[in-house]
Subunit: 242 residues, 2 copies
C-alpha cells in the first residue's frame, strides 16, 4: 500500500544566513536527506541498490518557497513518488508549517547509475520494488525545467574543489553547488522576503582538485547559473526567480 | 547549584566527509551550539547580554579527539564553566559515546564585547549571574595554546568572503574558518584514524566582501594556519597536531 510520508525538520543555528532565515542550500539539503531516508525505509535506498553496484543520481530538482523559515522554526517535509519509467522516477515534496499550511514545494527527478559501467540503468528492471511504492497524487508544482546557459551581462568566478566541498564519492555535494551559485548573487537579494523558485539540472559530476568556473547572469528577473570544469564540461545549470 | 549539563548529538549525512566520519568543523559547530544553548538556559546567553548591547566573543578553543565518529553515531556533549575572571571565562566540554567512554575534550575561552564601544567588558560586572554557575571541576585537557604564525614551507591561498561564509553579524562564521584552514591539508591526512588536537585563536573578525589570505605550513608534525585580511590584519591562527 503506497502512501505519502512526513518527516520533521527544524531550522537550527547552522542552517541560517545573516537574515536569520534558513538558507536555500540548507532547505535543499534537508529535502535530499528526506529522499534518502524515505527510499531506504521503503526498500530502495542507496544501500539496497549498492548490492548490485547501482546508485541513485539526482538529475533535476525544482524547489519553490513562499518564504524562507526563520531560526528555530519546526516544519514537516512530506514526500511521495508518483512516476516511474524506463529512464527516471519523480519524487515530490511539500513543506508544511506548524499550522498545517504548505509553504514549500519540490519536484525531483532521479535515474539509476551502474557504478561499474558508469551508464544509466533501465529502471524497468527495478519495477517489482517500485510499483508498490507509487502514490497516485500529482506533483505539487511544475516539474524542474531544462535550464539554458546564463545570458545578459555574464560574469564568472573560479573555485577550486576542496575537501569541505566533497561527498563520500569525492564529488562536489549538492548543497555546495547551490552555495557556489547563490554566493554570486548581490547580497541584497537575500534580504527580500518574496517567494522564489530554483530549478537545477545536474549534468556531470565535479571532482576533488578540479577548478570550476561559475558563470552567472540575469535577464528579465531570472538569474541563471552554470558551473563548468576547466576542461569546459558543464556540471550544473540552475535558474532562480525571486 | 552549579552542575555539568549534557546534550545529545548525532552525526547526520551533512556532517561527514568522504571517509564517512564527522568533520572537525561539524564537531566544532556542535560544541559551539551547545555553548550557546547552555548559556541561554542558565540565564547568560547572547540574548540576555544583548539587552545591554553586550555579546559573547569566542577568543580561543582547543578541541581534542581520539577519533572522528562515523555517520549516524549518537553521542553526548557535556559542558561546564569552571573559571571566570575580569577578562575571560572558561567553558569545558567532553564528548561521550553510547558506552559512556569519553572520546573528545574541548576547552574554550570567551570574553564579553560591548557592541557600542567595540571593547572588552570587565566581566566582574557580570559576577552575580556567573558566580552561581561555576562548577568546581578541572578542565578535561590543556587550555587552548597561544598559536604562533606558520613556519616551514609556508603556502598561501586566497578566499573572498561570500554569502555562505557569514553569520548574522556578516562576519565569517567559526565553522567556515575551520573549513578554510583544513581545506589546505593534503586530503590523505583525513584518511588517518589517529587522535588529533586543534588549537584556534580568534583575533579579529573577517567581513563579507573582504579577501582573505590563508597561510599554512608544517613543521615537526604540527600544521599551523593563519587567516589574514588583505590589509594584513590577522583574523585567526590555528595549530593542528595529527
Amino acid at each position: 500500500m503506497a502512501y505519502k510520508t512526513s518527516y520533521s525538520a527544524e531550522v537550527e543555528p547552522q542552517d541560517i544566513d545573516f537574515t536569520l532565515r534558513e538558507t536555500i542550500a540548507s532547505i535543499g539539503d534537508k529535502i535530499l536527506n528526506v529522499a534518502g531516508v524515505d527510499a531506504h525505509s521503503k526498500g530502495f535506498g542507496v544501500d539496497a541498490l549498492g548490492h548490485d553496484n547501482l546508485t541513485w543520481v539526482l538529475s533535476r530538482i525544482a524547489i519553490e518557497l513562499d518564504y524562507r523559515p526563520p531560526q528555530y522554526t519546526k516544519y514537516d517535509i512530506t514526500t511521495w513518488v508518483n512516476e516511474f519509467n524506463r529512464i527516471m522516477t519523480t519524487r515530490n515534496f511539500t513543506l508544511t508549517d506548524a499550522e498545517g499550511r504548505v509553504f514549500g514545494r519540490a519536484v525531483s527527478q532521479w535515474c539509476v547509475l551502474d557504478l561499474k559501467t558508469r551508464t544509466a540503468v533501465d529502471m524497468n528492471t527495478l519495477s517489482d520494488i517500485y510499483d508498490s511504492c507509487l502514490v497516485d497524487i500529482p506533483s505539487p508544482t511544475k516539474r524542474p525545467a531544462k535550464v539554458a546557459p546564463p545570458t545578459g551581462d555574464v560574469r564568472m568566478a573560479e573555485h577550486r574543489v576542496v575537501y569541505s566541498d566533497i561527498d563520500f564519492n569525492r564529488h562536489v555535494n549538492t548543497m555546495r553547488y547551490i552555495q557556489l551559485m547563490l554566493d554570486m548573487l548581490p547580497i541584497e537579494e537575500f534580504e527580500r522576503q518574496e517567494a522564489l523558485r530554483l530549478d537545477i539540472n545536474f549534468l556531470h559530476e565535479a571532482r576533488y582538485g578540479q577548478t570550476l568556473i561559475v558563470a552567472y547572469g540575469e535577464t528579465g528577473g531570472e538569474w541563471r547559473f552554470e558551473v563548468k570544469t576547466d576542461d569546459a564540461t558543464v556540471c550544473v545549470r540552475a535558474s532562480l526567480r525571486l
